[in-house]
């Protein structure tokens, strides 16, 4: 039941004023039209979700979540909090693990966004219907390796500015993704701004330069 998407890596980082989602871009067949950022979907203006797993299952979950976001706006006159919509998605997933004639949704999701009061949030759900809040997380292929990298490198200085948070996401992806920047896509949400795709060429070049400088320093230390 695997489709190609379970072999995609996805990273989410919660900064101070920004949340970053990084996706490993899977190479497509020659005749296939490439569509950017299709693994990351906006659930509302201030919340978006990235998933790893069966795309078809994700479509259903995303549709229900989008309707629930608007329904919440209608009855409560406030946008959903990220925790609320995560709880809704998790409850939906759990229901499918406990009724007859159904199978669980085969997706893990990273849900990011800003609450009404401006706090950035990152949540992860899995097919069993549990959800947890994270400061930084990875799902999909080689998620464990990336999570270990993030555990070592996620510090307050590392996410001090928006660009630092973005660079951390790229660095985390580069740990596992081959052939550099061509295969990485980024999306960011800033407070009070909608989801945006991010140009990463320049940032990847910066990161490579920094790496080289680090390597140079180490070499010099060794020789001296």
């Amino acid at each position: 039941m695997h489709d190609s998407c379970s072999f995609i890596l996805m990273v989410g980082i919660r900064g101070k004023d920004i949340v970053v989602l990084g996706v490993e871009k899977k190479s497509v067949a020659k005749l296939q039209e490439e569509r950017t950022v299709r693994k990351i979907c906006a659930l509302d203006e201030h919340v978006c979700m990235a998933f790893a797993g069966l795309t078809a299952d994700a479509r259903i979950v995303i549709n229900r979540a989008r309707v629930e976001c608007q329904s919440h706006r209608l009855t409560v006159e406030d946008p959903v909090t990220v925790e609320y919509i995560t709880r809704y998605i998790a409850t939906l997933k759990q229901r499918y693990t406990q009724s007859n004639g159904r199978r669980p949704f085969g997706i893990s999701a990273l849900i990011v966004g800003f609450d009404y009061d401006g706090t950035p949030r990152l949540y992860q759900t899995d097919p069993s219907g549990t959800y947890h809040a994270w400061k930084a997380n990875a799902i999909g292929r080689s998620a464990k390796t990336v999570r270990e990298f993030l555990e070592k490198n996620y510090t307050d200085e590392a996410i001090a500015s928006d660009n630092d948070a973005i660079k951390l996401a790229i660095k985390a992806l580069l740990e596992v993704v081959q052939s550099g920047g061509k295969n990485i896509e980024l999306a960011v949400i800033r407070r009070n701004q909608p989801l945006k795709s991010k140009e990463i060429e320049t940032l990847v070049a910066e990161i490579e330069k920094e790496k080289e400088e680090e390597a140079e320093k180490k070499k010099q230390k060794k020789s001296s």
Partner: protein, 276 residues
């Protein structure tokens, strides 16, 4: 269920269970007073339309039967710089009979939410208690208090389902939430309005007159207490269906406080003494 349908069992399974369409055909004089299937029991030989005609407003007693209720009240609420003032009378009447002079027309939903009642006492008490239950559940589920706009929206949506069925309720939902002081008017048609000043009930015109002539946004707290009290008092003075005591609440950032509960007779003598 899908399996039942495939096996073709569902037809005879359904025959055995109770269905409201079949009840009056198969079992003529049998009534099932289940809450989900509302039925009205009428003696044999009585025409329901004729029976209800004296109690309704409409011509033939069939179209849009809404039971005519007598209701009298004055309630008011207004926003000002220090929060929201809420004042109500306390007389419950049925026709020209005064049932009680000490009826609580303000329901305290939680320390940051109040609801006033006017119209049919039964409808107001029932729906606002239901609203209080929904607000409590919201707080447990979402770990934060419900906002005033959400609470008023819930109430409006609840009663909108019963539109045209004879509910009579005019209520003001007042509170203080993250967005500051909130005041909403909700009525039995499902109308929901946000505003700075509302008054409802048979005495509302008198209350509006007094409130409008003395209202400013930058009233001080004692001035606001005085204005609210006077408005209700003058309404009780002229409206036969309002009276009893004036109950006043002040909604502040830290929650509501009950300001006073004064008999209108005492107020009359106090205001009369002022004039001299």
């Amino acid at each position: 269920m899908a399996l039942l349908d495939v096996c073709g069992i569902s037809d005879w399974v359904k025959e055995d269970t109770f269905s409201s369409q079949k009840a009056s055909v198969d079992r003529v004089n049998h009534f099932n007073f289940a809450a989900r299937e509302p039925e009205l029991a009428v003696p044999i030989g009585v025409d329901p339309a004729d029976f209800l005609k004296p109690f309704t407003d409409c011509e033939d007693g069939v179209e849009g039967v809404t039971i005519k209720l007598e209701h009298g009240t004055t309630t008011l609420a207004f926003k000002f710089q220090h929060g929201v003032m809420v004042a109500v009378d306390s007389r419950a009447s049925s026709g020209s009979y005064v049932s009680t002079q000490m009826f609580k027309k303000v329901i305290e939903i939680n320390p940051y939410l109040l609801g006033t009642m006017s119209g049919s006492a039964a409808d107001c008490v029932y729906w606002e208690r239901l609203l209080a239950k929904e607000c409590r559940i919201y707080k447990l589920r979402n770990k934060e208090r419900i906002s005033v706009s959400a609470a008023s929206k819930l109430l409006a949506n609840m009663v909108a389902n019963y539109r045209g069925m004879g509910l009579s309720m005019g209520t003001m939902i007042c509170g203080w939430d993250k967005k500051g002081p909130g005041l909403y008017y909700v009525d039995d048609n499902g109308l929901r309005l946000s505003g700075n000043m509302f008054s409802t009930g048979s005495g509302s015109s008198y209350a509006y007159g007094v409130m409008d002539s003395g209202y400013r946004y930058d009233l001080t707290v004692p001035e606001a207490y005085d204005l609210a009290q006077r408005a209700i008092f003058h309404a009780t003075h002229r409206d036969a269906y309002s009276g009893g005591t004036v109950n006043m609440y002040h909604m502040q950032e830290t929650g509501w406080i009950k300001v006073s509960q004064e008999d209108v007779g005492e107020l009359y003598h106090r205001f009369a003494a002022e004039k001299k």
